[in-house]
């Protein structure tokens, strides 16, 4: 175990040196090359920033889609002359009463795998979009599990795009925006202390519509809506004259006559035509500007607006007008987003954490170093030098992986300091025992290393198992702990069995004729 070929020694020191270069690149700029300018990233808890987890609420979309399905069903029933009664939408399911004779016909249409406009078949799931239950003549149609997954997925994809646009427009520093599962979006905003503005921007679906204030009932029906900034309410027609989909741009502006902030919008050709027609036909009536079911304002149409541009007024400050313009530019979210988890750390707390982490690392390190010297004297030096090399390797590998260092991650490094010496302790204790029965020092060292091997390996693998499980099941900062702990174990095994063993063999050779007492 003590013999090292020249090549082996070269490889060991080559690995150590090259990894060390990476750990240095955290402190100095080594070269302009991208490869050598890697750094350990600081987690949000150390550099400050916000973590947000959003959940897409797809219920409105499901309901909307079911309404469409209901209309489609009516058409199909008419075409196939199927008689039905009581076709209604209730509790996210469509309920129908069919004649006995029509049920088989309905089932053939509904279970058609090839061409099915009402109930798509997903070969990848081996399942239909919808599922139904028949109870006597009553049929109950619902979205199947996979149908819901597909809706969630497509809603998530659209939402992700809008979220990305909104955050990009705010211009934060290197945001991370990721999908999580079927209906969640994870956002990391480093350096952002107060996520309030972003939260507000993401909390709005930004569904803009221009609708007439209802004076008499028409075929479209009407609803009572409240104003955004007051408790006043108005009866608004459900007929949408113009919607945010037809916008091509939106800019905040300032009306110097009224001293009010406004949002200037311009519309595409379809929108402009529709808007022109509406305003021409309704001069003198009030047109409500509705955002997410709240009335921003309801000005009177004084003259037809034909140019394809418009002004949104409301009780805006310049800031709220800017944000509204941003929301309108980036488009409406297909469904509302809920913030289901938020973690924000201010930059000063991050700095304090780095300081505290560094101090405790340094003190822990010094304590362990001295304790090893006290216990093992000269062999303690070997343990201490390998501990230092171990730390350098750990930092180097974290750098190569561009891992994220969190506060628990720092704790993982400190813990590695405490536990890494264990490998050397196991070996030294074994050597100590061997020295009692073995005359030759070289032999004692050799068998010591050999016999300690299985214990060292087993002892480290158990901790590694914990670290791996934690890595896969932990979240955020805790994951950082798993990373440093896990990599720490690997570097520990390397330093103990290659680097420290080489030092020990050197030491044993030098002292082979002396009496060693550990």
């Amino acid at each position: 175990m003590l013999y090292f070929s020249k090549l082996k020694i070269f490889i060991i020191y080559f690995i150590i040196c090259s990894i060390s270069i990476f750990s240095l690149s955290n402190f100095f700029k080594i070269s302009n090359d991208n490869f050598f300018s890697k750094r350990i990233n600081l987690g949000l808890d150390l550099q400050g920033g916000s973590y947000l987890l959003l959940e897409v609420n797809s219920d409105p979309i499901v309901n909307q889609n079911l309404q469409q399905k209901l209309l489609d069903l009516k058409k199909i029933f008419k075409k196939e002359s199927i008689k039905y009664k009581n076709l209604i939408l209730l509790d996210n399911s469509i309920k129908i009463l069919l004649d006995e004779s029509s049920i088989t016909k309905f089932e053939t249409i509904f279970n058609n795998k090839e061409e099915n406009s009402i109930n798509v078949y997903y070969p990848q799931y081996r399942s239909f979009e919808m599922e139904y239950l028949i109870d006597n003549n009553k049929i109950d149609i619902k979205y199947s599990k996979y149908g819901l997954i597909e809706i969630k997925k497509s809603t998530l994809d659209q939402s992700l795009e809008i979220v990305r646009r909104r955050i990009d427009e705010v211009g934060t520093n290197e945001p991370t925006i990721l999908k999580r599962g079927n209906d969640r979006i994870l956002i990391e905003l480093p350096g952002l202390n107060d996520p309030n503005r972003i939260k507000n921007l993401l909390g709005k679906t930004a569904n803009l519509s221009f609708r007439l204030v209802a004076e008499e009932e028409d075929a479209f029906g009407s609803e009572i809506l409240y104003f955004e900034n007051s408790d006043n309410k108005l009866k608004i027609s459900k007929r949408v004259m113009f919607s945010g989909d037809n916008l091509i741009s939106a800019k905040p502006s300032f009306d110097s006559q009224t001293n009010e902030a406004t949002v200037n919008i311009s519309m595409d050709r379809v929108g402009a035509k529709k808007f022109g027609r509406t305003t021409s036909n309704n001069v003198g009536k009030r047109l409500a500007i509705v955002l997410d079911n709240k009335i921003l304002s309801a000005p009177v149409i004084r003259e037809p607006i034909l140019g394809g541009t418009g002004v949104i007024t409301g009780d805006f400050t310049f800031q709220t007008a800017t944000d509204l313009a941003l929301l309108l530019r980036s488009g409406a979210l297909p469904a509302p987003l809920n913030i289901i988890e938020e973690r924000s750390v201010g930059p000063d707390l991050g700095e304090d954490s780095i300081k505290a982490g560094s101090v405790s690392l340094l003190i822990g390190f010094i304590l362990v170093i001295f304790y090893m010297l006290l216990k093992y004297k000269k062999l303690g030096i070997i343990a201490d030098v390998s501990l230092i090399v171990n730390l350098i390797l750990l930092v180097g590998i974290l750098t190569i992986l561009e891992a994220t260092l969190t506060l628990p991650g720092i704790a993982g490094v400190i813990l590695t300091v405490g536990m890494a010496v264990d490998a050397n302790v196991l070996i030294f204790e074994r050597i100590k025992e061997e020295l009692k029965i073995e005359k030759s020092i070289i032999h004692a060292f050799d068998t010591g290393y050999k016999k300690a091997q299985s214990a060292v390996l087993d002892a480290n693998i158990t901790t590694l198992i914990s670290a791996i499980i934690l890595f896969f099941l932990g979240s955020g900062p805790v994951k950082g702990f798993a990373v440093t702990l896990g990599i720490g174990i690997l570097t520990t095994l390397f330093t103990a069995y290659f680097f420290a063993r080489h030092l020990s063999s050197f030491y044993a050779m030098r002292n082979k004729n002396k009496q060693i007492i550990i």
């Binding site: 913030i339 707390l349 405790s360 003190i363 720092i410 264990d422 087993d458 805790v478």
Partner: protein, 305 residues
Amino acid sequence: MNLNIKKNIIFSNYYKKMNIFSFILIIFSIFFLIFKGLNLGVDFKGGTLIEIRSENPNLNITEIRKALLKMELGDVTVKNFGKDGDFLVKIEKTETNNPDFIKSINDKLSSNLGEKINFRRVENVGPKVSNELLKAGILAISLSLAAMLFYIWIRFEWQFSLAAIIALVHDVIITVGLFSFFSFEVNLSIVAAILTIVGYSMNDTVVIFDRIRENLKKYSSISILDISNISTNDTLSRTLITSVTTLLALISIFIFGGAILKGFSFAMIIGVIIGTYSSIFVATPILNYTNVSQKSVLKDTEDIN
């Protein structure tokens, strides 16, 4: 018989007493877990956690609590956190639909107290997420116990695996029990600590077991009880030195690592002590009770060869 052992502690004399002691601790722990429960943090219970800092060192907990209670936020707890003027506020309520929730708390708190309050850290966890985190935490701990059981079973014989896993469960129950007894908060980092304790305790046990197996093969005429004593003594100084270095590192985190790492390092310190104890006084005695013998160890080696 001269085995050349200097430190010759007859551990087996204490097995019975220590087992009773452990048994009592476990009963107490389970009692507390059932009747008092755990003080779950926002990670696992949902709610809002805010670390606040005020420039006014005279600000006290009562004032802050009063100001918060006016806002009707449900259950509110306030405690000192680190230096003067730093507090940790825990609010039962969370509003996932209202993006201005945190801001409104800050505004109202600042105006109620008549000074600017700085929110240094905010953690707001909705009920759905906290539920998932709790499940993931329990899954992680169970999975790590299962993984250890499996690993030891592969590396050793079933008797070793059984004894090691009982010792691990012992460590986890007592650590969690102590958290219940002291009402210390359990959050994500405590789960990380428990997993690390599982790894550490296993590590300690494995070293002793490794030696027991080795000695079992070596000496055919010695009883398992004596083998256990010899092996524990053989590895004793390693066990103690490693515990000391690990504890030195942990105590350094506990004292200097800041308020956020206090719970984590405390759990680890308890865990390391219990883990070391359990390797000697739980895992090894149980191995004895399983009637492990040279036969069971040698048979296994033959199978491999």
